[in-house]
Structures are given as structure tokens and as C-alpha cells.
């Protein structure tokens, strides 16, 4: 027999969701407003600010760059982050305690300093091509999410199940994919989502690593806002919301990860 969640708790959660979704309604409203400035409630409805994104070639170009970076950077980060998270959870005795905090460093260090240092050393010092520097920068930027958020779930995992599988003759790598991964799905999904979004919206690191011929969407948006004060900022945000949601859905399908099966 299941315990029911206390009604007071449900009320708190409900209020939280009103708090979370309310401002989004406002952003969507302002993006449809028939005025050339940000206002709510909208004074009339238009899709002009959405057309604007597709009419301006720089937005089209930088959107592709931003998505490429977010997918590439997060994938790279996950590829090296999940093994590290697994090692941290599985071999608590063998690895030094401070190691977990090393992977939080990319968020500890103010982004702008990280961006500046990366530019000095990687882009200028090592002379890496722009897109490569950006990929490295973004992979680094999202590593904390890939290691720690995934790790939070791995910490709660009972590794004796995996040991049992191995002792029954299942190869280690196979045991990892069939026994461990399915059980920490929620953590990996959360990590992936946070990482992807962080990368997609990043300004501070990208500002220093972009260069001739390569720019990202948030930076292009800032450039637009230097001169125009229209609701394009809202329409770009709303568009990103929906495109990101679509990307998440695709990732779920292809990786076979889904919220709906527990």
C-alpha cells in the first residue's frame, strides 16, 4: 500500500510551478507583441519577431553553430565525464576525496576568467582553430554537470548488483551498459539537459573563443540588442525553448532513454 504525498507538499510544489512557468508566459507574450519594445500584456499580436530570426542571416548561421557546439560539447563531455563519475562512485576507497571537487572547478572559476584564460592559452597560445577551441571550452564548461549530476545518481546505486553480474560471467563493459546505466538514467538525463542548456546559452566563455567567421547565437543576440530593442530577444528565446525540447525528444529516442518507463 502506497503512502500518499501530503497535500501541503503538493500545494508547495504547485506554487513552485506557477513561479517557474509564470515568467515564461510573459516571455512568450512579449515575443508576440505588436510593439517594437518589450511589453506585457501584448498590445496586439504579430509573428514578425519570429520572421525576423529567419530573415536575418546572422541568426540563421549562428543558430547552427550554437546547436553544433551544444551537441558536440555535451557529447564529448559526457563521453569522458560518465567514466569519471562512475570511477568516483565505484572506487571511493581507491581515489582521493578531493577528486570529486576538481570536476566542479569549471563552475567555481568565474566564467569570464575561464574564457579569458582559455583564449590566451588555447586559442592564441596553442593556435587551435576557432571551432576546436569552442568545443574544448564548452566541453569543459559543462563537465561539472556531466560528472557531478550523473554522479549524484551513481552514488545512490548499489554496485553489488553489478558485481553479481560480473561474477556470473558477464563482461565488465557489458555489465556497465546493461546493469548500471539503466539504473542511473534519470541522473544522466538531468546531467545532459543541464549541460546542453548551459552550453546553448553560454555567453562569457564563447565571447572570448569566437573569432573571424564563427559566432554563436547568444552573442549574435547581444550584438542585435546593442542597436535594436525589439522583442527579438524574446522570440529567439521562445524558439530555442521549442527547438531544445525537440532535440531532447530526439536524444531520448536515439539513446533509448525515456522518462516514461521506470
Amino acid at each position: 500500500m502506497k503512502q500518499r504525498t501530503h497535500p501541503a507538499l503538493i500545494a508547495v510544489a504547485l506554487l513552485t510551478f506557477v513561479f517557474l512557468v509564470g515568467p515564461l508566459v510573459i516571455i512568450i507574450g512579449t515575443s508576440l507583441s505588436d510593439t517594437s519594445y518589450l511589453t506585457f500584456p501584448p498590445q496586439g499580436y504579430t509573428l514578425h519577431w519570429y520572421e525576423n530570426i529567419f530573415d536575418i542571416s546572422a541568426f540563421r548561421r549562428t543558430m547552427v553553430t550554437s546547436f553544433t557546439l551544444a551537441v558536440g560539447g555535451t557529447a564529448l563531455s559526457m563521453l569522458i565525464g560518465i567514466p569519471a563519475a562512475y570511477a568516483l562512485a565505484r572506487y571511493r576507497v581507491e581515489l582521493p576525496k578531493f577528486l570529486g571537487n576538481v570536476f566542479v572547478l569549471p563552475i567555481l572559476i568565474p566564467e569570464i576568467v575561464m574564457g579569458f584564460s582559455l583564449m590566451k592559452s588555447v586559442a592564441i597560445g596553442a593556435g587551435l582553430p576557432i571551432m576546436t577551441s569552442l568545443l574544448v571550452g564548452h566541453a569543459l564548461l559543462v563537465l561539472p554537470y556531466c560528472v557531478r549530476v550523473t554522479g549524484a545518481s551513481l552514488n545512490a546505486f548499489d554496485f553489488s548488483i553489478e558485481d553479481a553480474a560480473v561474477s556470473l560471467g558477464c563482461p565488465r563493459w557489458k555489465a556497465f551498459f546493461t546493469v548500471v546505466l539503466p539504473n542511473v538514467k534519470a541522473g544522466i538525463i538531468a546531467g545532459f539537459i543541464l549541460a546542453f542548456i548551459t552550453s546553448l546559452n553560454d555567453v562569457s566563455v564563447s565571447i572570448f573563443l569566437t573569432g573571424p567567421g564563427v559566432s554563436t547565437l547568444p552573442i549574435q543576440l547581444l550584438a542585435h540588442m546593442e542597436q535594436f530593442f525589439d522583442p527579438t530577444i524574446a522570440s529567439v528565446s521562445v524558439l530555442l525553448m521549442f527547438v531544445t525540447t525537440a532535440v531532447m525528444a530526439i536524444v531520448e529516442r536515439t539513446l533509448g532513454l525515456t522518462f516514461l518507463t521506470k
Partner: protein
């Protein structure tokens, strides 16, 4: 054999073409990109047979990156004069050769050599005061900004914006002193103004938001924001100041590390040409600095247009301003940040 000969011929032609097609790297803000592309970049590409790539971002970011790269990586950089002065002081620009920019003769004298042998300006803007004529008594001089009947209506440009340090300079002028020599009287005036300030803005979007939401009714800003302000609050008015607005020149410079110096000169010359300047002004992209540009009255209304209007503007001494900027930021923060 014949195949081989034709192949090597093709290879020869290809390598010759590759040697000819240079790439010009332009660093600019990145807004209005499509209009600039049609008016400047495409015609220039056809003219020079070269390719053009861009680096985009605001003044500070792009200049900061250029400095970090030791002046390399860019052939032409667009900046407002406040920032190009910093670039000059940092030594990341090379002097331009006027002989390679024949169109200099056709632009207003004030724009030909604003910073001592470095790049020319290609457009001129102005910074002045804007107020809501429905709620504010007319503002006719800089001293009106420090009037005491503006309670909670003012938004000043933050000290870190282009216009911020100008507030200090103008406050000094109102106080009857030169802020570069003695900044105490200027800051006393600013401190007295503090109760009337609702919030200082850090960028144009924030400023337009302050006005459109009714948080502020008076501000000091650059002319290109006026259209947006009027859309939000139709009674916003550009103050006609008896002591004149402040000139803002957008300059073109060639960094020290440019690998296409001749091409960069050609590009600058092209931006100053009659046809480009005419198109840019007609389409509302940039105010013309070329004396041969002819505008209808309604087109001219939005710009600082003509010798008289340009002569009426006050110019800032950015070299002096930059020397004081750090101290002023601290003093300003002491007033507004405590």
C-alpha cells in the same frame, strides 16, 4: 600525356587563383549585418575579387581580443571613438596612409583624422538628453539635467557605458570647472542628483525598458535609440540644448598585425565613397559623413546632417578621459553603489 598536361595546367591556374584571392577580416558589431552586406561587402568583394570574413561583438570584447592577440587576426576594425582611442593608446593600430584613401577629401574635416594619424570616422552620431515632454518641463541645457524637480525620473548612463564618463565631464562644465583638472565639483553635483535617479542603465535595451515601463522619464543617450523610445512613449523628445550635444564618431582602424594592409586601405576608402555613404544614409543605417551625400529633408531629419549640425557638436577629449576613467569608476561606484 595530354591529360597530364591539361591537369598540370589546371593545377597551375588553380594555384594562381588561390594566390590572388585574399581574405579581408573585418571586426564589427554585427547588427544590421544584412544591409551592410548588400551595401558594402558584396560590391567590395566584386571590386577586389577577395573574400571577406567577420568577427562580431561589442566594442570592449573585440578590442580586448585584439589586444590579447597582439594586434593580429583582423584587417579592419570598426569601433566608437572612445574605444579606438584606447586601442591607439594600447598600440594595437597602425597609422593609415592618407594617400591610399583618396575619399578622405570628400568627408567633413572633423572626421578625416580624429585621433592623430590613425583611422578616419565613417559616420557621426550624437549623445544628448531625451525627456518625456508630457511630464517634464522642457530641458534646454545640460544644467537642466541637474534641476531639482526631476525626483525619481532620471536614468543616467552607467559609468561603464560610453556615455557614462561624459556625465562627469558635463557635470564639471555645469559646475563651472574642468573635470579633468578637478573632478570634485562634478561629483558633488552628481551626488546631489542621486536622489532623483531611479536607476542607471548599462545598455540600450535596459534604457528603453526603463522608459517604456515608466520607471524613468529622462535619460542621456545616443540618437539611434530615439526611434525605439518614441515607439514606446510617443512624447519622448530630443532636448534642443543651447550648449550642444556631444559628438560620437565611429572609426575604422587597421590593426598592427594586419596581413592585408593595402586591401584594408581600399576597404576604408570604399566605406567613405559617395555611393556607399548615400545608400547607408537613405536606408537609415548610418549618418553620412561624406559631403557629397544629398538627402531629402525627411531622410535627413534622423541624422546629424550637414556642416552646421556637425559643427554645433561638442567633441570629447578621450585621451584625457581614459586617463581618469579608473578613478571615476571608483568615485561613481562610491556614490551609487554604497
Amino acid at each position: 600525356m595530354r591529360n597530364l598536361a591539361s591537369l598540370s595546367a589546371i593545377a597551375l591556374i588553380a594555384s594562381a587563383a588561390a594566390a590572388q584571392s585574399e581574405t579581408l577580416t573585418v571586426s564589427w558589431w554585427g547588427y544590421n549585418g544584412d544591409k551592410l552586406d548588400a551595401n558594402i561587402i558584396q560590391p567590395f568583394k566584386e571590386m577586389c575579387g577577395c573574400d571577406v570574413v567577420f568577427e562580431t561583438g561589442n566594442n570592449a570584447d573585440r578590442l580586448g581580443k585584439l589586444q590579447a592577440r597582439g594586434g593580429k587576426g583582423v584587417d579592419v576594425i570598426f569601433l566608437t571613438d572612445a574605444y579606438s582611442q584606447i586601442g591607439v593608446e594600447q598600440g594595437v593600430f597602425q597609422k593609415v596612409d592618407p594617400a591610399k584613401i583618396p575619399n578622405l577629401e570628400n568627408i567633413y574635416p572633423v572626421a578625416r583624422d580624429p585621433q592623430g594619424g590613425f583611422g578616419p570616422a565613417y559616420t557621426v552620431g550624437r549623445i544628448g538628453i531625451v525627456y518625456d515632454s508630457a511630464t517634464v518641463e522642457p530641458i534646454t541645457s545640460w544644467s537642466d539635467l541637474f534641476r531639482d524637480d526631476l525626483g525619481g525620473m532620471v536614468s543616467l548612463p552607467g559609468i561603464t557605458t560610453t556615455a557614462g564618463p561624459m556625465v562627469v565631464v558635463q557635470a564639471g562644465m555645469v559646475a563651472g570647472t574642468d573635470a579633468y583638472e578637478d573632478d570634485a565639483p562634478a561629483f558633488e553635483l552628481i551626488e546631489a542628483l542621486k536622489p532623483q535617479v531611479v536607476k542607471n542603465y548599462n545598455n540600450g535595451s535596459e534604457m528603453v525598458n526603463l522608459i517604456s515601463t515608466g520607471e524613468a522619464q529622462i535619460t542621456m543617450t545616443q540618437d539611434f535609440t530615439l526611434g525605439s523610445l518614441k515607439n514606446a512613449v510617443p512624447t519622448m523628445t530630443w532636448a534642443d540644448l543651447e550648449d550642444g550635444d556631444i559628438a560620437v564618431l565611429n572609426t575604422l582602424n587597421i590593426p598592427t598585425g594586419s596581413e592585408n594592409v593595402d586591401l584594408a586601405h581600399e576597404f576604408i576608402n570604399f566605406v567613405l565613397s559617395d555611393e556607399v555613404q548615400q545608400k547607408e544614409a537613405e536606408q537609415g543605417v548610418d549618418a553620412p559623413i561624406n559631403m557629397n551625400v544629398e538627402l531629402a529633408p525627411e531622410q535627413a531629419a534622423m541624422w546629424t546632417y550637414g556642416q552646421e549640425a556637425i559643427d554645433a557638436l561638442n567633441t570629447m577629449d578621450y585621451a584625457k578621459m581614459n586617463a581618469h576613467k579608473s578613478d571615476w569608476i571608483d568615485m561613481w561606484n562610491e556614490i551609487f553603489g554604497m
